[in-house]
């Protein structure tokens, strides 16, 4: 029932672990240090078993295997369950072909709707990330370097408070605000600026505003943490030497806060590109966002391999983006997730 690909998926991680374990054992023997103890000797049997079982189950069964399995699944054709492992079950690029050409057989036309949505999502996510940075940077700087401790505490509380309300209700709030009979339209109609209500939802204004709002904290805290550790004297020194304020930010604060900027930008980008609630709730009828399409592949079209392929494409894009950011900012993964 399980073919070769599946064996690789299930055995691969175990082989990697075994190799590392063997290397560790060999090196410990060779070093011959009397203090070096094996993992079991060090923790005792009971605790060792707990540690290994917990992390093993998590890392292998919850993280690695499902991901590998999803990728494998995306290279299979759509089949009824009884045909799994049967003669029709073979590796195929059908799902990916569909993503690009809108058909599994013909290559005449591009799948304009899906491709457009995909690139729009990437592009819009980058814009949202940039907007988020512009909104948050002055605030983060103010809190980290200017604000008094009491004011800092107050601002922190005020920042966190709106994010206790859940994502869906926050999106709902924007719907109330931007709806055709929402506050903004009523206000604009009332003062006579417009004669007809503007369809903010259809124009995606609401969606972009909501998306920028949704992940504000993910940008704010890394920035704040990074700027906070900057020595005040450096800023004073730059100022004394006659640097204008934008020089100070561009050449002193920002280079110092690079890991924070990188961290905030990757987090916001990933979350925005993978956002589902805001596009579903705030997107207009013609909205092009990629995650609702992935959702529809699963629960409207019931084509799971295709959904997996789309999910994998999204995942790959995010990985490429993270690697690019790491390269550009010259920071390590450890600095980002701190």
């Amino acid at each position: 029932m399980i073919e070769v690909g599946k064996y690789l998926i299930f055995l691969g991680p175990l082989i990697v672990i075994a190799v590392f374990w063997a290397m560790a054992t060999v090196e410990r023997r060779q070093s011959g240090e009397p203090g070096a103890k094996s993992f079991f000797g060090r923790n005792g049997i009971a605790i060792s078993v707990f540690l290994l079982a917990a992390v093993g189950l998590w890392a292998i069964i919850m993280i690695v295997l499902p991901q590998l399995y999803m990728v494998d699944f995306s290279f299979h054709p759509k089949l009824p369950p009884r045909d799994y492992g049967g003669p029709n079950d073979h590796y195929t690029l059908d799902s990916y072909r569909y993503f690009i050409f809108g058909s599994t057989t013909s290559m005449d036309h591009l799948n304009v709707i899906h491709l457009k949505a995909f690139f729009m999502t990437i592009f819009a996510s980058i814009i949202v990330t940039a907007i988020n940075f512009c909104i948050c940077y002055p605030m983060a700087y103010y809190m980290a370097q200017v604000a008094t401790p009491e004011r800092l505490r107050l601002f922190m509380l005020m920042l966190i408070a709106p994010f206790w309300v859940n994502e869906i209700l926050r999106a709902f709030a924007f719907r109330v605000l931007f709806g055709t009979s929402g506050l903004i339209n009523n206000f604009l109609l009332g003062i006579g600026v417009i004669a007809e209500p503007i369809d903010f939802l259809g124009l995606d204004v609401a969606m972009y505003t909501g998306l920028s709002y949704a992940y504000l904290l993910m940008m704010m805290f890394p920035l704040y943490n990074a700027i906070e550790s900057l020595d005040r004297n450096q800023i004073e020194a730059a100022r004394d030497l006659g640097a204008p304020w934008w020089h100070i930010h561009l050449f002193v604060v920002m280079p110092f806060a690079k890991p924070g900027i990188a961290s905030g930008c990757t987090m916001v980008f990933m979350l925005t590109a993978g956002a589902l609630a805001a596009p579903l709730i705030l997107g207009g009828p013609n909205t092009l966002w990629f995650t609702p399409i992935v959702y529809d592949r699963f629960y409207q079209a019931f084509n799971w391999p295709q959904g997996s392929a789309y999910a994998f494409i999204l995942l790959l894009t995010c990985v490429v983006f993270v690697l690019a950011v790491l390269r550009v900012f010259k920071v390590s993964l450890g600095e980002i997730t701190r």
Binding site: M23, A54, M62, I63, M70, V165, N166, V176
Partner: protein, 291 residues
């Protein structure tokens, strides 16, 4: 002096705009919870009412969803906190060549879009449960707990790691020198040291689970959590009952924040007092220090 004043005014204006953006939508939504029209409307304000709150209490679907959310949240805490603890401890002991690969693997769920975690969990367990015949495991509760724990464990691991960074190895060595075994060190030194982190990781895990939509919406299958019920409602249309629910959530939050702040201040005062007495005692006994 004049340009300084302009600068200050600009900063003040920016902060005002910033918090208006942050609170504006929520305030508007809050107002609609008390307005009479059937559509959430803040302006014009047609009449004050509590009827949306009353309707909320009778909404069975929301209440069932709430129960499911709480159950799943508890499940996630039970899985994610021990796993995060174990993962953080292994991080400090793992073979150095394997460390960066290990870190990459266990941190990756934080950087993976939530829908992908949900999708991969469902696909993987659908097949695994059908091979092993354990079909009863293919249900919304089980899959959602697993799917959410995948990334929430990583959150809690990060909480434990940041606490472990402040762990003084000298304590461990002292205990070992005094004849304690490694398990004893673990039980009596490491765990008590990590206790505050256990609490914050649990709270974080529960909230992250309760809030989650992206992973849940795929993994929940036929069940419904509060958040997925809400999402369905908001997509269908908007009624002021949702505003009422948001008002309740905000009220609980504000009360919680105030209590937390009061407790923190009290503790701070106690700590300051203790420090003051310790300092006074030290000052009073210079001889003992000198000897």
């Amino acid at each position: 002096m004049n340009s300084r004043f302009v600068m200050k005014a600009m900063i003040g204006f920016y902060i005002l705009i910033f918090f208006t953006y942050l609170f504006g939508p929520l305030v508007v939504m809050g107002v609609t919870a008390f307005n009479t029209p059937n559509y959430p409307q803040a302006y014009p304000f047609e009449g004050f009412t509590f009827k949306w709150f009353a309707m909320l209490a009778k909404d069975d679907e929301l209440i069932t969803g709430l129960k499911t959310s709480v159950l799943i949240g508890i499940g996630v805490v039970c899985v994610a906190v021990p796993v995060g603890l174990a993962a953080a401890i292994i991080m400090t002991q793992i073979y150095w060549r394997a460390r960066s690969l290990y870190y990459l693997v266990v941190v990756s769920p934080v950087l993976t879009p939530g829908i992908i975690l949900g999708i991969s969990t469902v696909i993987f367990w659908k097949d695994v449960t059908s091979w092993t015949g354990a079909k009863f495991l293919f249900n919304g509760y089980f899959l959602t707990i697993l799917g959410q724990s995948t990334f929430i464990s990583a959150y809690s691991m990060l909480v434990f790691l940041s606490r472990l960074q402040r762990f003084d190895r000298a304590q461990e060595e002292a205990a070992l020198d005094l004849g304690a075994s490694y398990p004893q060190v673990f039980r009596h030194i490491l765990l008590p040291f990590l206790k505050p982190a256990v609490l914050s990781a649990s709270v974080l895990a529960f909230l992250a689970s309760f809030e989650n939509y992206n992973t849940t919406t795929f993994a929940i299958l036929a069940e419904k959590t509060l958040v997925t019920v809400l999402a369905g409602r908001v997509r269908q249309g908007t009624t002021p009952t949702l505003s009422a629910l948001a008002v309740i959530i905000v009220a609980i939050t504000v009360v919680g924040a105030v209590i937390y702040e009061v407790l923190r201040r009290a503790e701070q005062k106690k700590a300051d007092a203790a420090k003051a007495t310790a300092l006074a005692a030290e000052a009073a006994t210079p001889v003992a220090v000198a000897a």
